[in-house]
């Protein structure tokens, strides 16, 4: 792995050392700004727009869910009706008409029994996106659950994983095949009424991934989910639940894209992670939802609740995120460090360009003794982008010997962007050590001059400097994702200089 990485990096370096790009190359690059913006022409079976108890029941019925699941959803829906949308974030959000959204959309036809039955258009969609669903899957060595609009269209390597006792399937399948596990864990980290968007998700969630790693098992391959929004006027509300039993470990990746549309589509997901004694979960996200155009028209509203709980002693949860897409990103992947000696980490690169806005960060709640957390957040603002880090480090009374280190750096590219940092530090135990540092700066003239004097074009120089700025986070990503993340940043920043 290490040698591969070195090779990849040297390749990237070679590419960056290439002579300054001429106008033609820049033009070409600009035109491929959002590669994933195509629409797959496939017939879909959608619920009409609108939300009431009937909608919730209809979703539950389409998924042939048992009675308890329907009731669980309805309870969440009734609670949601009593809530008001939160306004505290530093975001300008257009009004969301919850009655104008279609809450369920799935490719038409019977449910596919195996990947061979998945229509060619869908397989091609994922091929185009570089997600291996078929033969290539074997080569890539990554198990994939592909979610298209509201449903999972296929999960690879299920048999191989099942041999080890690992359950990796869509949430709808899990409700049927492992109801005892779903009942036991669903909503225990993010309760139905946790916040406005989590309550909405609990009522109408359509699919998502379910992962269960039994006691003592190390998952032999990376698991991943690829989310794709395709249909217009729909929202995507997926729910992911990952459970690692005692001593188990898993690395999970998540990627997302959507077509270019001039409407703001809502994506309100909930992710829950549970790590028991000595378990370890690594959750990586490369988020590339459609960001809207240069004038801020269209793009996805990405309002997600992600939370992990280190329930057992010595458990560990690592969040890594690269957020380059979405018109608005609003999420705080968090860790509740309940078990003694448990550890939480959060590594993030968030980029806002044009009119994108991001209000993201993490919460580290230290409850157990000797709990440790580390936060590395890198924000890049370009164009008119507004990028906010908001985080909480809370040391409860019993968290003797707790330790936190937080580092937040912001890079400004351009005159009209903004970078903001709002950390909250609350300490109730004198045996804890909490450190926070933050810096904000622009790419300096000196750095640029140095690169230019070595014959590196302006765009490439910016790309190199940004790459260096983000390296600390990229290092945490599985290699395939690290390469993709680097590419995404380059594409997203095009046109930012000059």
């Amino acid at each position: 792995m290490a040698t591969e990485r070195i090779q990849m990096e040297s390749e990237l370096r070679d590419r960056l050392r290439a002579p300054a790009t001429g106008n033609e190359a820049v033009e070409a690059a600009l035109s491929r700004r959002y590669d994933a913006g195509f629409v797959t022409d496939i017939e879909s079976d959608s619920l009409p727009p609108g939300l009431d108890e009937g909608t919730v029941r209809a979703i539950s019925a389409r998924k042939h869910e048992p009675e308890w699941m329907t009731e669980w959803r309805l309870k969440a829906y009734r609670h949601w009706l009593t809530m008001t949308p939160p306004h505290w974030a530093k975001l300008r959000i257009g009004p969301i008409d919850f009655q104008a959204i279609s809450y369920y959309s799935a490719p038409k036809g019977p449910k596919y029994k195996s990947l061979d039955e998945v229509p060619r258009e869908l397989i091609e969609t994922y091929d185009k996106l570089g997600v291996p669903l078929h033969e290539r899957a074997k080569l890539a060595g990554v198990a994939v659950d592909a979610v298209f609009d509201s449903v999972s269209v296929g999960t690879t390597f299920q048999k191989e994983l099942a041999a080890k006792g690992i359950v990796f399937c869509s949430m709808s399948e899990a409700v049927k095949s492992h109801p005892e596990l779903v009942k036991k864990y669903l909503g225990t980290v993010v309760p139905q009424g946790d916040n406005y968007f989590a309550a909405l998700n609990s009522a109408v969630f359509s699919d998502g991934s379910f992962v269960f790693i039994p006691k003592g098992v190390r998952c032999p391959m990376e698991l991943s989910t690829y989310f794709r929004i395709n249909a217009g006027h729909t929202g995507q509300f997926e729910r992911t639940l990952i459970i690692a039993e005692e001593g188990a470990s898993v690395s999970y990746l998540e990627g997302c894209t959507a077509p270019m549309r001039d409407e703001n589509q809502l994506h309100a997901a909930v992710v829950e992670l549970v790590a028991l004694d000595d378990a370890s979960i690594k959750y990586s996200t490369v988020q590339n939802w459609y960001p809207g155009d240069e004038n801020g028209v269209g793009g996805i509203y990405n309002f997600v609740t992600k939370r992990g709980e280190c329930r057992g002693p010595r458990s560990r949860i690592v969040w890594t995120q690269v957020e380059t897409g979405s018109a608005i990103t609003w999420k705080y992947p968090s860790c509740v460090l309940r078990g003694d000696d448990s550890a939480g980490e959060f590594h993030s690169v968030a980029l806002t360009h044009h009119c994108q806005q991001a209000d993201t960060g993490t919460k580290m709640i230290h409850i157990g003794r000797n709990t440790k957390s580390k936060i590395v957040s890198k924000g890049i603002s370009a164009g008119r982008g507004q990028n906010t880090y908001r985080g909480l480090v809370k040391i409860e009374k019993g968290a003797e010997g707790a330790r936190n280190h937080t580092q937040c750096d912001s890079l400004l590219i351009g005159k009209r962007c903004g970078a903001h940092t709002f950390p909250y530090i609350e300490v109730k135990n004198p045996g804890a050590i909490v450190e926070h540092e933050a810096t904000t700066s622009k790419i300096s003239e000196d750095q640029m001059f140095y690169c230019r004097s070595r014959g590196i074009g302006e765009e490439d120089a910016v790309s190199m400097i940004v790459d260096g700025f983000c390296k600390q986070v990229f290092r945490e990503l599985p290699m395939e994702f690290a390469v993709e993340a680097k590419k995404l940043l380059e594409v997203s920043l095009e046109g930012a200089v000059g």
Binding site: P423, V434, H436
Partner: protein, 421 residues
């Protein structure tokens, strides 16, 4: 209406102009609740239920001058006891070009100053309360080019009275172009009263002016003290502020600095030392509004026993304020399992040619440093005191004259954990 506002505003129907407006707004909105971000860590629930007698009330025991003298602070002196100006204890002799007007003797000036600052940040409940009811305080003006010389000593004293009082004070300080002023804001009192003090101070620094402000807050340990300082710093003007927060049961200190002119500069040093059930909440709000402005904020905090220290340090760099250079550091020591520190350094940046950094830490004494001192034969208690004291007095390192610095170190020493505790 809670007991507090009732006791403050009942029967005050005769207010006019800006005062009536402020009172009406205060009655409409009440005191801020826990869901208001700026009051997240400071609850006013207990205060809401308290009743205070309206000031002025007769002070029964006013200490002698010597009790509040500070070495090296020997310019003019303004003494307020329980919110009332004391001509007999004061000395208004000042350098040429300096005008000191106590509002009790110049009510017209108070009305003018109130009108002048009407509307600025008026959503604050305590500013409204102050505007509605204030009758005392002073205006201090230094004409362009004048040097006020020796530090002016502003003594705000709480003294025992028949009932717990709530008093309002207003301060208006204006420095003309190139003027220089050194001012000491000194709060003190004893534990025999539980008054509420509410001080609103507005400072205007003209081009090239320099204000050196020392704030020594050593109020009585049952007192509640609310302070709000707004500073408008003009072109190339400098504000150097040093703050010590040691007294009061509950204190809230808002410190808003507008670096409004090109090249304006702020240097702020501060420390809070808390014990018992003290609660201190400091809100620094630094706004870089012009080019090439700079700010350097260094605050430290110590919380022992059941105390709670809150520090909010926000730096905003407005669009167009290129060349801004901002640094903020907040380090805290948490000495007891029942104490709490909440710190919140925030950056809001809308310009790109800037340098901005902040850091915050919460921790305890360095074990290695303690070990070192103990190997030199210093008992654990004494070693801890030495280290805590060194941690705090770093903020006074540049303070002049040395005798004043020593006095503050002595004051600090009395507030640190005592041997055997």
């Amino acid at each position: 209406m809670g007991a507090f506002l009732d006791s403050m505003l009942a029967g005050r129907d005769g207010l006019g102009g800006v005062r009536a407006e402020a009172a009406a707004a205060l009655l409409r909105d009440g005191l801020p609740g826990p869901r208001e971000e700026a009051w997240k860590y400071t609850s006013l629930r207990a205060l809401e239920q308290r009743r205070y007698a309206p000031a002025p009330g007769e002070a029964t025991d006013v200490p002698a001058l010597a009790a509040f003298a500070l070495p090296g602070v020997d310019g003019a002196r303004l003494v307020f006891v329980n919110g009332v100006f004391q001509p007999a204890l004061s000395d208004l002799q000042a350098a040429p070009g300096v005008e000191i007007l106590p509002y009790r003797e110049h009510p017209g000036q108070l009305d003018k100053d109130l009108e002048g600052h009407h509307g600025t940040g008026s959503a604050d409940a305590f500013l409204r309360l102050n505007t509605a009811l204030v009758e005392d305080g002073a205006s201090i003006r230094v004409v362009a080019g004048a040097d006020a010389g020796a530090p002016i000593h502003l003594v705000i004293l709480g003294a025992p009275a028949a009932a717990d009082l709530a008093w309002q004070l207003r301060l208006q300080v204006e420095l003309g172009a190139g003027a220089r002023l050194s001012l000491v804001e000194h709060h003190l009192g004893n534990d025999e009263h539980a008054h509420l003090g509410n001080l609103v101070a507005n400072y205007v620094l003209g081009a090239g002016a320099r204000l050196e402000l020392l704030q020594v807050q050593d109020a009585g340990e049952r007192a509640t003290l609310i302070r709000r300082g707004s500073f408008h710093v003009g072109e190339d003007a400098q504000l150097a502020a040093t703050t010590l927060e040691a007294g009061a049961q509950m204190t809230r200190h808002d410190f808003r600095v507008h670096l409004a002119g090109r090249g304006a500069r702020l240097e702020s040093r501060g420390v809070f030392v808390l014990h018992g059930r003290q609660h201190a909440d400091t809100h620094m709000d630094v706004r870089h509004e012009a080019r090439d402005t700079s700010s350097d904020v260094l605050w430290r905090g110590v919380a022992d026993q059941r105390s709670r220290g809150v520090f909010h340090g926000a730096i905003t760099i407005a669009e167009g304020a290129d060349g801004a250079d901002a640094a903020l550091s907040n380090k805290n020591l948490l000495l007891s399992p029942q104490a709490e520190i909440d710190t919140q350094p925030a950056l809001e940046i809308y310009a790109d040619e800037v340098k901005a950094a902040h850091g915050a830490t919460v921790g305890q004494l360095d074990e290695q440093a303690l070990f070192y001192l103990r190997t030199r034969g210093i008992p654990l208690d004494a070693a801890r005191r030495i280290l805590v004291s060194a941690f705090c007095s770093a903020v006074f390192a540049d303070l002049q004259p040395a005798v004043l610095r020593e006095r503050l170190d002595e004051l600090l020493a009395t507030r640190l954990p005592q041997a055997g505790e």
